[in-house]
Symmetry: none
Subunit: 460 residues, 2 copies
């Protein structure tokens, strides 16, 4: 069985021979240096942190390092760690790597993904064990299209408690990720005679694509420092990110919230509240969900993609009564997450492990944000930081004269993947050049290097 | 050790797997026909002389021939031997009628669900542990819409080996159940300009509903003792259950298979092969997948709903090249099973636990079928049993004068849930009164009581 390890953003593929983890790690590192995937001058993570990420003993990593130092692949510098040794460029960068996605850079500060090494594997496995051992055989049959009642109950409790959502288990619909949820909402809107929806002028272009593919006409609404320009709304529905506008960052203002709800009531319109990172707020109490102001006009959408991992494909909708049946009908045509995953997630929430995990992450991400903001202020003072109060990304306004394309290209040359704001432009509104910096993405051991590189790029 | 066999001047290379000479011979013949090394119209040597040449029992050859005739590769002509069938040069079925809640009767003999107490919880948990501990952090990110490569590889191996599917991992699309798979295929068909599809006149009404909800016009094709009436086909696509027509039971005949493939080729049409219970065949080797006859015209669809549990929401499609990209595009709009489940399933297959589980189940279900057939013959001789060669259900033709509604009602009064054939009527064709008896459903301890009650109801 093949095993994959990621070091500094590089995927290392190892076929462990028997239980010889050290040999496997050694071979993987050697291959990565040889193939140029780990380039000369790259600093390897401290053995302690790599060992933690890999789930192996620290000694295993330390002796693999020592061996490769002895072989000349790596270099140990007294007091400053282990580095990929300078060697003749016989090792050319063949891209025969088996990478899934385009994450080919060593360091990745693009938004959208949490630190995947933080996924609580042991908590999840323990919960899966309890869930599956405690499940009745019947629960393994064809599932309720809304999702397992155990999970809908657990989510209703959690959402009311943590996000102030006005919710009963009957209104919850468990989905395979937000993309599926959005398609289901689109189908329900169509059934109810709503055939146009506005999206924010900056956001994920894929959301607009999904809505259009579901047969809805789409338009955009501009975003300012108070969030979406509710006064400019028109049509039958709008998709909003009230907690932390993606990617520009403002929280939808109090007056705007009331305005939005009034607009929806007056026009019989619906609001889709994409609460993608509502759990992460650092400087004050989380802003409660907009949904609570008008549960019959607002579809609330949450996800485990940021709190646990996107690979779980777990998300949830809380539906207004009028859209519930059409949404269930649409859900029947597709299919939800497995019963095993749903029961596992329910256990995780009920046992308190989900809340603990989020609290732990909130500290981690807050520290990351603080380091980023401090470092940027010191080393690249001309780059102003915004959108930093919440979530897993900040907006970095580029210094005068800098362009997004040039900045992204320069970062790429330093093995750092960045996203310019323009790639999130959905409408006509045009914002000055900026970067959308996701500080959740890198594994812990690679974070310092990643943000140092960012500062170096921005300091010019 | 490789062995070479010469038939009609063609060398057949076979690597016998263990001592399974017959399987080896079958595979060699199938490959030779598929690859065109044994051409249409070639007459095969009499089984007696080939057996002598090969040093195997005559019966080994005869049953290999019979199997390949059943699959449509060969043709047996009365009194004149065995020939390679006429074909141009050259991949299931799921029932997903979300009936989870209504299982309130004490005993349940409705079709559609396997014995849920048989789900191999410990195997699954062990595989989940290995999968999750061995997974790279990156694998928990946003998934490939086709599904994890590890699972697509494992499925390709499994499907080629167990179902004779012509498949490469690139052609596999992992889905959340057959319902989602069917909607994806429907979307791909529409993209390719096909906007009508025929379904069998008896089947799951939900399949027709799904296709219609996806914007396809639907029609029906009648079913007789040889399966669907291919000669009556029209339109751009057809959904078939070749291995074991649901619910009437015939296996699509050899001649019909060829006819179906010819029809598809001549009309640029597509066949969706719903191989919902192809793993379960009791009285002879499983009939290989129709897909192998025309991989570019047939979408093969398989599922874990019958072999493991519907609650897993795991199914797979093998796509023709022309429908692959549109299907991937449709998949992007919805979402697949979790990475955890996919990696777990891959481990289960690769470790051999999936095959072992199916072999165990095949014995269990065969015994159940034998007991049911025997008991009915003894206690309710007027009720004739059909469709009993495969799968998890039989058709019980009601005695003269009995009606489905009265029989189902009487069973209900005895706490036994039954389905009348009429509830699976999708088209105009009208079959005499019968029950669709799912003998897979009850847990082992309740099976005797369930079938005793059935006999009591049928004996009047």
């Amino acid at each position: 069985v093949q095993k994959r390890w990621a070091i500094s953003g590089v995927d290392l593929h190892v076929v462990p021979r028997g239980s010889r983890r050290r040999a496997g790690l050694e071979a993987a590192l050697r291959d990565a240096v040889r193939a140029g995937r780990l380039a000369t001058g790259v600093r390897l993570p401290p053995s302690r942190s790599l060992a933690a990420d890999l789930g192996v003993a620290r000694n295993t990593v330390a002796s693999a390092y020592a061996q490769l130092v002895a072989e000349g692949w790596l270099e140990a510098r007294q007091g400053s760690g282990t580095w990929v040794a300078a060697r003749a460029p016989a090792a050319k960068r063949t891209d025969e790597n088996h990478k899934d996605q385009s994450r080919s850079a060593l360091y990745d500060l693009r938004p959208g993904s949490p630190d995947l090494t933080s996924f609580p594997r042991n908590d999840w496995l323990r919960a899966a064990q309890r869930a599956l051992r405690g499940a009745s055989p019947d629960s393994l049959g064809y599932p309720d299209p809304r999702g397992r009642l155990e999970l809908r109950r657990a989510l209703a409790d959690y959402l009311a408690r943590a996000r102030g959502v006005d919710v009963a288990p009957e209104r919850v619909l468990v989905c395979s990720g937000f993309a599926q949820g959005l398609a289901i909402v689109a189908a329900a809107l169509k059934t109810e005679g709503c055939d146009d929806v506005a999206v924010e002028a900056y956001g994920h272009t894929s959301h607009r694509t999904t809505l259009a593919a579901c047969g809805l006409a789409t338009s955009t609404v501009d975003v300012d420092e108070q969030g979406a320009r509710i006064d400019a709304l028109d049509g039958g529905a709008v998709l909003l990110t009230p907690a932390h506008q993606f990617p520009l960052g403002p929280t939808l203002g109090a007056r705007r919230r009331l305005q939005a709800v009034e607009w929806a009531r007056a026009n019989g319109a619906f609001i889709i509240e994409d609460d993608y990172d509502g759990e992460f707020r650092y400087d004050r109490q989380p802003i409660g969900a907009l949904q609570a102001l008008a549960p019959e006009q607002v579809v609330y959408a949450g996800t485990a993609s940021k709190t646990l991992a996107p690979g779980l494909r777990l998300a949830w909708l809380v539906m207004p009564a009028s859209l519930l049946e059409p949404a269930i009908a649409a859900k029947r045509l597709t299919d939800g997450p497995s019963t095993v995953d749903q029961l596992t997630m329910a256990h995780l929430i009920v046992a308190g492990a989900y809340d603990r995990h989020i609290r732990r992450l909130r500290l981690v991400y807050r520290r990351r944000r603080d380091r980023l903001v401090t470092l940027l202020a010191r080393r690249a003072p001309a780059a102003r930081v915004g959108a930093e109060g919440a979530g897993l990304h900040v907006l970095v306004h580029l210094p005068d004269g800098a362009t997004e394309a040039a900045t992204v290209a320069e970062a790429k040359a330093r093995a750092l993947a960045l996203d310019g704001l323009a790639s999130y432009r959905v409408g006509a509104q045009c914002h000055p050049p900026a970067l959308v910096v996701g500080y959740g993405t890198p594994p812990e051991h690679a974070y310092s290097s990643a943000i140092s590189r960012l500062c170096a790029v921005l300091a010019g």
